[in-house]
Subunit: 305 residues, 2 copies
């Protein structure tokens, strides 16, 4: 048998590793809690453990990791990952050493997922797209001219930090009124609290209350969808994509939220650019991150400097 | 002597043609009023006249045109140019025919200027930059990975239509609260009128009144600079450039306007991305458009599809 490529999704709560064969079929899976509070060494050891578990006794082509955070993909360093409590962690080198000098690539989880959807999923055949994931936060990644676009220092695609109201609430980034403070799961909960929405303040409960006709909850969800649509309109006006792949737990929670965001996008973007954009969900579901991480090994991406 | 390449800047009021030798030195110049009200044929004839005047008896490599409007660069069609009153004008084919089948390329004037500044001006050596021109309107062009980025349908770089206040004034694009309605020359005049600024309502007079301490005029100029800075911050968060080349009549009118816009950008963008951005003026002045138009002939840009 031929060697396997391992894709790892390193999130704030879980590590997921998937082994792929040459045809990129998943042949084994493993997962473990991240337990970032135990420190970098422990997390790296658990990632290595998951990799060894799915690799079995086969040879390894290499390991790709999509990490939740800001990653310098050239050095494989996690520059900042607030949900891991990491800053400047040389993950590529640590993991490579832990695995006995196996080739390792590390990139942002959003970049990995966008790559997977472009090569094998909902963006197949497209050259210009934005991948957006709306969960606890709002993340994104750009594919321009058929390739991941990382920008000058690896930070491109921060769609969550498009400012939609300059006088809006403070954002964790230090700014104010970023789309994330309205449209993300955490943002929806915070805005519902401010608006004295009754009942349990979880994203799911607020969506339910809105669907049941509770006006305050409805206003929060509408504002969330409008903020997202506005940020997407700005993206369309700047980068003129063919498609926006919109997914994540919050975006998938209610069709009405997606639909309203798309309607706002179409109302707000330049008509000629809005006309050519297709908004669609991803096709690879929860596997997008691991598949994309595995693809990082074969992606010859010397383009971004 | 070797053949010349002609760069044409086709604006709402003037046609300017410059002949360049192989070293891209300007060897002859001509200009004429655009007089778009006389119709497409008359304008094309005047462009051809200017080209013949600067070409003299030398051979021609070709003619590049940077046009003020939305251009489909692949077909050389001016899709929409409101200050020319043009819609779907096949300028490349018309001009090529008028000149006896000389190779002609047509692109947006902002793309041409951005190309010139990147190859030969203030962006030389950089791979990721935004070119912004603040005049009557706010225009832009993106250079990503060292090349003009035109997007899926040639419309990328519409920095003037980043929404900075979703409840703001109507914009000519059909949207509301675009940066252009605050930061452009026309926007400054419109906002000053709304704010009952005293005296003559020209951009120059409003800048002067602001500099002289007139509070209403000062507030309009401050809001203009803040809106521009906010739109640039959004651009930085999305595309992570190394530099922003900021020019145009309005941006050049007052150092305080530029400085305030840059300060707002740095306050509003993600710190890690703001830290690496240099904001600087263009270096080629009024020749950028013609130089860039001439460069269109040698730019092998089959990248954007």
């Amino acid at each position: 048998m031929s060697a396997l490529t391992i894709g790892v999704d390193l999130g704030g709560t879980h590590i997921r590793a998937v082994a792929f064969d040459d045809a990129l079929e998943a042949v084994a899976r493993a997962s473990a809690p991240t337990a970032a509070e135990e420190g970098v060494e422990a997390v790296v050891a658990r990632v290595a453990e998951c990799v060894r578990e799915v690799a079995g006794t086969e040879g390894l082509n290499g390991v790709g990791v999509g990490a939740a955070g800001l990653v310098d993909w050239r050095s494989g360093t996690v520059a900042l990952a607030s949900n891991l409590g990491w800053r400047d962690v040389p993950l590529r080198d640590l993991l490579s050493a832990a695995l006995g000098d196996v080739p390792v690539r590390v990139d942002m989880d959003t970049n990995a997922a966008a790559l997977a959807e472009t090569r094998l999923g909902a963006g197949r055949g497209l050259r210009h797209l934005l991948y957006v994931t709306v969960g606890t936060g709002v993340g994104g990644a750009e594919v321009l001219d058929g390739r991941l676009y990382r920008g000058a220092s690896g930070g491109a695609g921060q769609i969550g930090h498009v400012v939609v109201d300059p006088a809006g609430p403070r954002c964790g980034c230090g700014g104010q009124g970023c789309v994330e403070v309205y449209a993300s799961g955490a943002g929806i909960v915070a805005r519902a609290r401010e608006a004295n929405v009754a009942g349990e303040l979880t994203t799911a409960a607020i969506f339910e209350a809105a669907a049941a006709g509770e006006p305050a909850a409805g206003a929060v969800i509408d504002a969330a969808a409008d903020a997202l649509g506005l940020a997407l309109a700005t993206y369309v006006n700047l980068n003129n994509p063919e498609a926006i792949l919109l997914g994540g737990g919050v975006a998938d929670a209610a069709p009405s939220y997606r639909e309203r965001a798309e309607r706002t996008l179409r109302q707000r973007a330049l008509p000629a650019l809005a006309d050519i954009v297709d908004v669609r969900p991803g096709a690879l579901g929860g596997d997008a991150g691991a598949i994309g991480a595995a693809l990082l090994l074969s992606e010859d991406d010397g383009r971004s400097t």
